[in-house]
């Protein structure tokens, strides 16, 4: 598996939550690979299981009620689901780092920026306090924070959202992780700041040669940054292919609907196109293909209503889970 430079390989991952109303199948049968130095974007609506996938990789699913029911997650050829918690702790932050969605609350309000980065550094690396402090300052400079020497002494509430997200990134990359999981890193930020943060991630990816799992619901973000895209719908991957291919030749009706609902520059539209209906609840998934109630093809099709299509390779490196996708073996 490592021969072709695959850093992370998620295989048939299923994560369920036990609730009083029944088992919520948040993630079902999800598989994907991330190669060294590449970015995989995980796209989908809210509640489709993107974040749960990320938390499963970090093994941060609160248990109970959550549970990784099936599947394997290979990180550098080791199944991290089988590691004892103690060893997993050494991987977290050191080998796999994570950036959260909400920068305003992701930093501890009672410690200075410097304290927090230094703590992250000294945890995984043998460094004296002074060395770690020096390194933290360099990290802040690396994420383009002006006056890093001064910022080190400041408390989080003095920084803006974009600045805090930079600090979070500085913390995450301070141990030079091989995989960075960015869970909607720009959702809570201004559009202008979004671009800066994404540029920064790009830049760091190149200089540190790390892989990124970019979780987002913003297709615009995906178009610019990702090498590969996996579109998730209702706990499963609906379509997976390279970024170019997704925009040029979408196969799954859900992907088509998503792309169709993007506003197009240069055309006049009174209303944006939408996909009719709502995202199904994890406790109450429809039978057959989960997208069929909202699908222009599937809503009247017997097979779509009864049988669920598996994710299959329809052309080279292009996977789709739709009975009517071009090239789907029936």
């Amino acid at each position: 598996m490592t021969d072709n430079g695959i850093i992370l390989s998620v295989q048939n991952l299923s994560t369920f939550f036990d609730t009083e109303q029944g088992t919520a199948k948040a993630v079902q049968d999800v598989s994907f690979d991330i190669k060294k130095g590449q970015t995989l974007a995980l796209v989908g609506e809210s509640g489709c299981g993107k974040s749960v996938t990320a938390l499963s990789i970090m093994r941060l699913i609160p248990s109970p009620p959550g549970e990784i029911a099936a599947g394997k997650i290979f990180f550098k050829n080791h199944n991290i689901l089988e590691l004892p918690e103690k060893k997993m702790r050494l991987i977290r932050g050191d080998k796999i780092a994570m950036i959260f969605q909400e920068p305003m609350t992701s930093l501890n309000p009672v410690y200075t920026i410097g304290d927090q980065i230094v703590e992250a550094i000294t945890l995984h690396q043998k460094k004296t306090y002074e060395q770690a402090w020096q390194m933290a300052e360099e990290m802040l400079a690396k994420v383009h924070i002006p006056e890093p020497a001064r910022r080190m002494f400041e408390y989080p509430h003095l920084l803006s959202g974009g600045m805090r997200q930079r600090v979070m990134i500085a913390m995450a990359i301070s141990c030079k992780p091989s995989l960075l999981i960015a869970d909607e890193p720009t959702t809570a930020l201004d559009v202008t700041i979004q671009a800066q943060i994404l540029d920064l991630l790009d830049e760091l990816q190149q200089s540190e040669d790390m892989s990124i799992l970019l979780i987002t619901h913003d297709l615009g973000v995906v178009a610019q940054r990702a090498d590969n895209v996996a579109v998730m719908y209702a706990s499963r991957i609906a379509e997976q292919c390279s970024c170019m291919e997704l925009f040029n030749k979408p196969l799954h009706p859900y992907t088509k609907g998503l792309l169709n609902s993007l506003p197009q520059l240069g055309t006049r539209q009174n209303r944006l196109n939408t996909i009719a209906g709502n995202v199904p609840e994890p406790l109450n998934f429809p039978s057959g293909c989960k997208f069929h109630p909202r699908c222009p093809i599937g809503c009247n099709d017997k097979r779509c209503q009864t049988a669920e299509p598996a994710l299959k390779e329809v052309s080279k490196n292009h996977f789709a889970a739709c009975w009517y996708a071009e090239g789907y073996e029936k």
Binding site: R89, G93, A97, N108, V110, L123, F153, Y155, M171
Partner: protein, 398 residues
């Protein structure tokens, strides 16, 4: 580094609370009052003692007071002096420009102080001679065997019995009167401060440590651990503390330490519940999740990242707890279950006002009662001030 302007730095949470706290005059007054009490408790043998500081006997200068002090007395002095020095050092440090230097210097100072303290106390325990001095220096002065004596402010010992002067109302010699064995009330009041304050602090220290650890674990893990913890806590809550103490005191030797421990291990339930509630709230906060995803060990997540964010309500409950512990000790001593005489305690003094001769000796009840009242009030006001200072809704713009 020089261009860094001191004012541009963020004020920490602690500094904000302190600013808000000191803005209220009542808070400062209460704080000062408690400081004075502390000084009195620490230096009680130097304020009220029947041994003179200096006395000339047969043309030789003697220092009877200092030679009769025990190793424990000296240890208490040393601890207090080092503690005060440290406070001053911290105060001076906090004005320094470079906070990085500040924390490094601070830790160095704290460790040096701790080392000095440890060495000092052990040396004192080993080398202080245990001397009992039954000499009546007043008699010697009266017989002009000795001259040039300098006595402490209140020249009586707390264990003195002198039937000749028993049950005297306040007078020039005895400012607050004497009790029925002839001890000076003021002297006993000053020495009684030690018992009251140490009961308050040690008992609450024990209870808050147990409460915080217990509550933190319950709140962080939740689920089954929380369920079991809460049932244990409910059992603890249904135990009547006061009667438990009375029962235990009946079986074990009466000692101050026993009382402190019992108050401590029965009154942690409130702290545990506060911390549990706070941790439930904090557990799902993003910065805690971020700390976990950095791979921090559990100890660090619980006590370094979550505790400082959730400790505020417990701080308030601690101040109220100190007042409560003082009350319990006074009540126990009043009933005769407290510290054994001749060690003075306010509650025990209170009870002497009515017990013996049938008549009500007002000065025996009024002064210790007032002392208890003011101390407890000061602690309660302090707790209230702290609560207001911590509450961000009440915080005025700085």
């Amino acid at each position: 580094m020089n261009e860094i302007n001191n004012k541009n730095w963020g004020t920490s949470y602690g500094q904000l609370v302190w600013q808000q706290f000191t803005r209220n005059r009542t808070n400062l007054f209460c704080l000062c009052f408690i400081m004075v009490l502390f000084t009195m408790a620490v230096f009680a043998p130097l304020i009220a003692n029947d041994k003179p500081f200096v006395i000339r006997i047969e043309n030789k200068l003697c220092f009877p007071l200092f030679s009769t002090l025990t190793a424990n007395d000296y240890s208490v002095f040393l601890t207090a002096i080092i503690g005060i020095t440290l406070l001053f050092l911290i105060r001076r440090n906090s004005l320094k420009v470079d906070p990085f230097l500040r924390s490094a210097v601070l830790w160095k100072q704290i460790s040096i102080c701790a080392v000095i303290l440890l060495i000092g106390i052990s040396l004192l325990q080993i080398f202080t001679p245990r001397k009992l001095d039954a000499t009546d220096y007043n008699a010697m002065l009266a017989d002009s065997k000795a001259t040039d004596a300098i006595f402490p402010l209140v020249p009586y010992g707390y264990g003195r019995t002198d039937i000749k002067v028993s049950q005297q109302p306040p007078s020039r010699e005895h400012w607050l009167g004497t009790d029925d064995v002839g001890s000076d009330v003021l002297c006993r009041l000053i020495h009684g401060t030690r018992v009251s304050l140490s009961v308050g602090f040690v008992a609450v220290g024990i209870s808050s440590i147990i409460g915080i650890v217990f509550g933190a674990i319950m709140g962080y893990f939740g689920g089954k651990i929380d369920f079991l913890g809460m049932r244990l806590l409910e059992i603890m809550m249904s135990v009547p503390t006061f009667f438990l103490i009375i029962t235990i005191v009946a079986f074990f030797p009466r000692s101050l330490f026993n009382i402190m421990v019992i108050i401590g291990i029965t009154s942690w339930t409130d702290d545990a519940r506060f911390i549990r509630a706070e941790f439930f709230k904090l557990r799902n906060q993003d910065f805690v999740q971020a700390a976990i995803s950095l791979g921090l060990p559990l100890r660090s997540i619980l006590f370094r990242h979550m505790l400082p964010n959730g400790v505020a309500p417990v701080l308030v409950s601690i101040t109220f707890g100190v007042a409560g512990a003082i009350f319990i000790e006074s009540a126990l001593s009043f009933l005769g279950f407290g510290v054994a005489p001749p060690t003075p305690s306010w509650g025990q003094m209170l009870s002497t006002g009515v017990s013996t001769s049938g008549q009500f000796l007002w000065w025996l009840s009024l002064f210790p009662g007032t002392a208890i009242f003011f101390t407890v009030t000061a602690y309660n006001l302090l707790g209230e001030g702290l609560r207001d200072a911590i509450d961000p809704k009440l915080r005025k713009a700085v």
